[in-house]
């Protein structure tokens, strides 16, 4: 269909154009906003490629939380608030030779990827036949969830470990860094939060539940719940205090712990690690997913908040 082809060409061109614009934008704030819009367009592209799971992850994490994370750092770099101008890092201009070498290297790597992509046979069956064959044993009916939580569960476990490592590193790096807290956002926002936050929590739970049979699952649900927590932090409904640290640590670790325990627990009696007994596969996957969702939500919120809650920071909050 020609109209749809024109749409695809226009969308693909705008994705590339926006990527270039993001890199060329002078103002750092404009760069971040362009990056957020890039994420939205990317999600549309993924919807066009029949990848709703990826589009879901992209809008939740790529366009949503990454944007908030970047804005928060920019606020720090500009000295407390976003509106305060100046303080942007100025750096030495790179000379022509360096830029030439950079372009050459980037071009070579892109050519390599291009050859790999264009050289591979297109539009022919890949691994989907294997996935379809194994679906009855997976315990779920949605192929992507089956791959994530069953067939390639090692990858997913490692991914949860990466998130855990990230929050540990961020807490270490930010140790002792003080910041002015965000102000109250007013009654209109409070009213909005009262309606929106419960709706968002329900949406997160729905995404988790639907993941077994349709696009959705632990990461998307975790990202939505993480966004709820970020809103709570911004509006100061949630105020991290030193007393919360044991709970926070426990929540960060819970997903990884349950995942690893189940993986090892099913491994006896002639089974491999991660080879769930088919009769209980759905229960086990849902158990893992629920815990991983909670962990991811807490971790993403902690990554946004940055520093570990310490007594000094809360003491300053009253000033």
């Amino acid at each position: 269909m020609t109209v749809l082809l024109a749409f695809d060409l226009l969308l693909a061109a705008s994705i590339v154009g926006l990527a270039a614009a993001t890199l060329l934008m002078r103002d750092a704030f404009a760069m971040i906003v362009a990056f957020i819009v890039f994420g939205m367009l990317l999600a549309l592209g993924w919807a066009r490629l029949v990848a709703p799971d990826v589009a879901l992850a992209e809008v939740a994490i790529g366009a949503g939380l990454s944007g908030a994370l970047l804005l928060r750092t920019l606020a720090h770099l500009r000295g407390g608030g976003l509106s305060a101008q100046g303080g942007a890092s100025v750096s030495a201009p790179t000379n022509g030779a360096t830029q030439g070498i950079n372009a050459l290297l980037a071009g070579l790597a892109t050519c390599a990827l291009g050859l790999a992509y264009l050289g591979a046979p297109q539009n022919v069956p890949g691994l989907e036949a294997h996935v379809t064959d194994a679906m009855p044993e997976s315990g779920v009916t949605h192929p992507v969830t089956a791959v994530l939580l069953n067939f390639r569960a090692y990858d997913t476990l490692m991914e949860v470990v990466v998130l855990l490592a990230a929050v540990i590193v961020v807490w270490q790096v930010e140790r002792g860094l003080a910041e002015t807290p965000a102000p109250a956002l007013g009654t209109v926002y409070q009213g909005f939060a009262r309606v929106a936050l419960p709706v968002a929590v329900i949406a997160g739970g729905y995404l988790l539940w639907i993941g077994a049979e349709a696009p959705g699952g632990a990461f998307q649900a975790g990202a939505v719940l993480g966004a709820v927590a970020v809103l709570g932090l911004l509006s100061r409904h949630v105020r991290p205090a030193p007393a919360h640290r044991p709970l926070a640590r426990g929540t960060f670790v819970a997903g990884t712990a349950i995942f690893a325990l189940v993986a090892l627990g099913v491994s006896g009696a002639g089974r491999e690690t991660f080879e769930y007994p088919p009769a209980h596969a759905k229960t086990l996957i849902l158990l893992i997913e629920a815990m991983v969702t909670v962990s991811i939500a807490a971790t993403l919120a902690a990554l946004f908040h940055g520093r570990e809650p310490v007594t000094v920071a809360t003491g300053k909050e009253t000033t």
């Binding site: 720090h76 892109t110 992507v144 390639r152 991914e159 998130l163 590193v169 790096v173």
Partner: protein, 99 residues
């Protein structure tokens, strides 16, 4: 010759985004810009993967690359958060010594 399917269109766009992002990673001056470039680079690679997983309509796409890219997105946001913490820390250290 390659047929002009939506997979080819977005695959080539993904290649371009990957290349642009890589150039940004290597050449960008500020740290924040370099980090965003790295994110673009990852997004471009993801687009290529998802384009490779596409099958013409009656058939459904290969779910394995989809799962890989979702994992990639989550790993990328973790890496971004760590890099941002480092950027904030470096900035504080620099402004402290300047005073």
């Amino acid at each position: 010759m390659i047929a002009l399917s939506q997979a080819t269109i977005y695959g080539l766009a993904g290649l371009a985004v990957f290349g642009l992002g890589l150039m940004g990673v290597l050449g960008a001056a500020e740290r924040l810009r370099r980090l965003i470039a790295l994110n673009l680079c990852a997004a471009g690679a993801g687009m290529v993967l998802i384009a490779a997983a596409w099958r013409s309509p009656p058939a459904v796409p290969d779910p394995v690359p989809h799962a890989l890219v979702i994992t990639g997105i989550v790993v990328m946001v973790s890496a971004t958060a760590v890099a941002l913490a480092l950027i904030r820390r470096l900035h504080s250290l620099e402004t402290d010594t300047d005073d």
